[in-house]
Symmetry: C2
Subunit: 345 residues, 2 copies
DNA sequence: CTGAAAGCGCTTACAG
DNA sequence: CTGAAAGCGCTTACAG
C-alpha cells in the first residue's frame, strides 16, 4: 500500500503537491501534475480514509428533503427512520446533517423546503422529487453549484441525480395482478381504486396500474378490470363508491389499491357482510398491517422504504468521503407481505 | 466533542493514561483510573474512530467458516458472496480476513477447518454452527481465548456467540402452509419431502416442518399432510418416491420441500403429464429459480442469505473497531418469491 | 508554482 | 504507575 509520502519521494516532490494533484486543487504546473498523476495511476493509489478524514476535520453537510409524515402510521415515517438511522451512524464520522420536510399535497411547501435547504450549503442532497416540473427547476440550482443529489422512492428520468433508489412500479403492479388472481375464479370482476390527486404527479401509481392491467391482459382474460377515481379518498367517499360498485356488480370479488390507502377500503369492507373480497394494496405501515393481520387485506406489496432512506444517506456519505461512485439505479425489493410474514420483513 | 487530550487536562494526567483507562490496559493506579473513568462517563466520551484506527494501524483479523459451495447455483454461494462483499468494504479499513470452508456432510472437515482457523489467531469469527455437538466443543476454545464469534444461518441456543443472524424457521414453515393452501381445494393431500441426513443436525428443517404442520392443524383440517424421508435425494430416488405417491393417491395436489432442494421435485414434475401440482420450497438459488420462472415451483421462501454473510462480517467489524455491541439475535426476513418478483428481492 | 511544517486525535515504545 | 514524545497518513496555512 503506497502512501502519499511514497509517491512524493518517487516523484521528487513534496507530499503537499501530491495532495494537490490527487484532489485536482489548483496551483500545480502541468509538468509536475502529469508526473505525479502517472505514479498515482501506476500504483492505483487509494488514500487512507482515516488519515484523510482526520486531517480534513469533516466539514461535510448532507441535507435531506422528503414528505412529512404526521403520524407513526404513515408511509413517509419509514424513509425518515432510515434516514435518521444512517445519520446516527455517520455522525461519529463528523458529518453534519439537516433534514427538511414538505407537505406532499402542497407544491409551495416543496419549493420552500428546497430554498431553506440551499441556505445551509449542503455538500450532498437526498430528496424525493415529488412534483415533476418544479423538480426540474429546482435541481438545476444544484447542478449549477455542483452539489450531488440522490433521488429516493420516486424517479425522474434523464436528470443529473447521481443515483435513484426505488421500486420498479410496473413489475410490482404486475405481481399484484398475479396475487389477486390466485383466489379469483373465472368471470369475476376486479376494481382499481385510485386518487384523482395523484394522476399528474407520482408516476409510480400509474405504472403500478399499467403493470396490473398487463397481468390480466396476458393471463386472465375472463376477469374484467374496472378503474374508479376518487376525489378525496376519505371514509365517506370510499364507502359510497364501494357500496355502489358492489351493489351494481355481483361478480366484483377483488379490489386493488395502487397507493398506500388500502386500509380505507378495508375499513369499509369490515362494515358489510362477509363477501370473500380479495384486497391487495401497497406499503406495510401500521394502518395497513392492522387489516392484514385480521385478513381483510390479503396481500401488501412493500418496497422497504426504510432502506431507501438509509441507503440514500449512506450513498451520499460514501460519495463525499470515499469518492465512491454509486450505481445510477438501485431497485428496491418487491416484497409480498401476508399476515404470516409481516413481522419478518 | 471532548478529546482524550481534553479529558487528560481536566484529570491532570497525560493522554497516555487516559488511553490506558479507556481500553482497560494495565498499569494504572486505582485512584487515577477512577478519576479518569468518572470524566469519561461524565462526558459520554466517544473516541475518534479515525484517529484511533490511524494510530492503531489496523491489526485486526476476522475469520469466517461456512459450508463450501461447489457451484454458482448452490445456496451457500450466497452467504459467501455477502461475506466477500463485506470483506471488500472493510479492507480499506485495513482489516485482514481469512475464509475457511467445510463440507456440510463431513464432520471431520468441520473440525479441520476450525483448527486451521484458530492458527491464524483471529480477533473475531463468523461461523455457521452446522454440527451441534462439535460446535459446543469447538467454541469452548474461542471462549477460552476470549475471541468473539457470530453465528449465521443456524442458531445454537445458550451459547456465548455475540450474535445470531438467521430466519425464524417455524414461522417460515407456517407461511409455507398458507401459501400452499391458497390454491388447494378441500380434501386434497399434501406431501412433505425431506432428507434423512438432516434429521439430527440442521434443526431449521424440523422447525419449518413444525410450522407447516401447525398451519394445517389450525386452518385447514380437511387437508391431509404426509411426510416422506429420502435417503439420498438424488434424481432417481425422488422420481421413484414421487411416482409411487402420485399413483397411490389421486388427491395429492401439493408438495412442500423444507430444504433448498425443491428443484429436484420440479425436475420430476416436468417429466409427468400436467397435473396442477402446487410446489413450494426454500431458497432462491439458480436451480430453484429456473423452475420458479417456468412456474413448476409456485413459491420459494427465502431468507436473504447474502445479507446474513454481509451483516455477520459487518457486526464483527463494528464490534472490534467501534466497540459496538450487537443484538443477540437478528431475524432474517421471510421473503416470498414468485416468478414475478424473483428479480426484485 | 512548490515545500516545510504544524496539526487532526489516538496509540505506543521508551524512559523514569 | 506515569509522562513526554514520536508516529499513523493526509491536509492546509504559510512562506518564498
Amino acid at each position: 500500500m503506497k502512501t502519499i509520502k511514497d509517491i512524493a519521494i518517487e516523484a521528487k516532490v513534496s507530499p503537499g503537491t501530491v495532495d494537490r494533484v490527487l484532489h485536482n486543487r489548483p496551483g500545480v504546473s502541468l509538468k509536475t501534475k502529469e508526473k505525479v498523476q502517472k505514479l498515482l495511476t501506476k500504483y492505483n493509489f487509494e488514500k487512507n480514509v482515516f488519515a484523510s478524514t482526520l486531517a480534513f476535520k469533516n466539514k461535510f453537510t448532507i441535507a435531506t428533503i422528503i414528505p412529512s409524515a404526521k403520524s407513526e402510521k404513515e408511509f413517509w415515517q419509514e424513509p425518515d427512520k432510515g434516514i435518521k438511522a444512517a445519520i446516527k451512524e455517520i455522525q461519529k464520522y463528523g458529518i453534519e446533517t439537516q433534514c427538511f420536510y414538505f407537505d406532499k399535497y402542497d407544491l409551495d411547501s416543496y419549493e420552500k423546503a428546497f430554498e431553506e435547504m440551499l441556505k445551509v450549503n449542503p455538500n450532498g442532497v437526498l430528496m424525493t422529487p415529488f412534483f415533476y416540473k418544479k423538480t426540474v427547476e429546482l435541481t438545476a440550482k444544484l447542478n449549477a453549484k455542483k452539489i450531488p443529489y440522490v433521488f429516493i422512492n420516486i424517479d425522474v428520468e434523464s436528470m443529473d441525480n447521481i443515483a435513484f433508489i426505488g421500486q420498479n412500479s410496473y413489475q410490482s403492479g404486475y405481481l399484484a395482478g398475479k396475487l389477486l388472481s390466485l383466489k379469483l375464479e373465472d368471470n369475476k370482476e376486479v376494481l382499481i381504486i385510485r386518487s384523482k390527486k395523484y394522476v399528474d404527479n407520482h408516476g409510480a401509481i400509474s405504472s403500478r396500474i399499467k403493470g396490473f392491467l398487463s397481468y390480466f391482459k396476458e393471463k386472465n382474460t375472463s376477469v374484467a378490470v374496472k378503474e374508479v377515481y376518487l376525489e378525496t379518498f376519505d371514509t365517506d367517499e370510499v364507502a359510497m363508491i364501494l357500496a355502489k360498485e358492489f351493489s351494481e356488480n355481483e361478480q366484483l370479488k377483488g379490489v386493488f389499491v395502487p397507493s398506500s390507502a388500502a386500509f380505507k377500503v378495508a375499513e369499509y369492507l369490515e362494515t358489510i357482510p362477509k363477501k370473500e373480497i380479495s384486497l391487495i394494496g401497497y406499503d406495510s405501515h401500521e394502518d395497513n398491517i392492522k387489516y392484514l393481520k385480521n385478513e381483510t387485506i390479503d396481500f401488501l406489496i412493500s418496497q422497504n422504504p426504510y432502506e431507501q432512506g438509509y441507503m440514500g444517506v449512506k450513498i451520499i456519505f460514501e460519495y463525499l468521503l470515499f469518492n465512491k461512485i454509486p450505481n445510477k439505479k438501485y431497485s428496491s425489493p418487491i416484497h409480498i407481505i401476508t399476515k404470516e410474514n409481516s413481522d419478518y420483513i
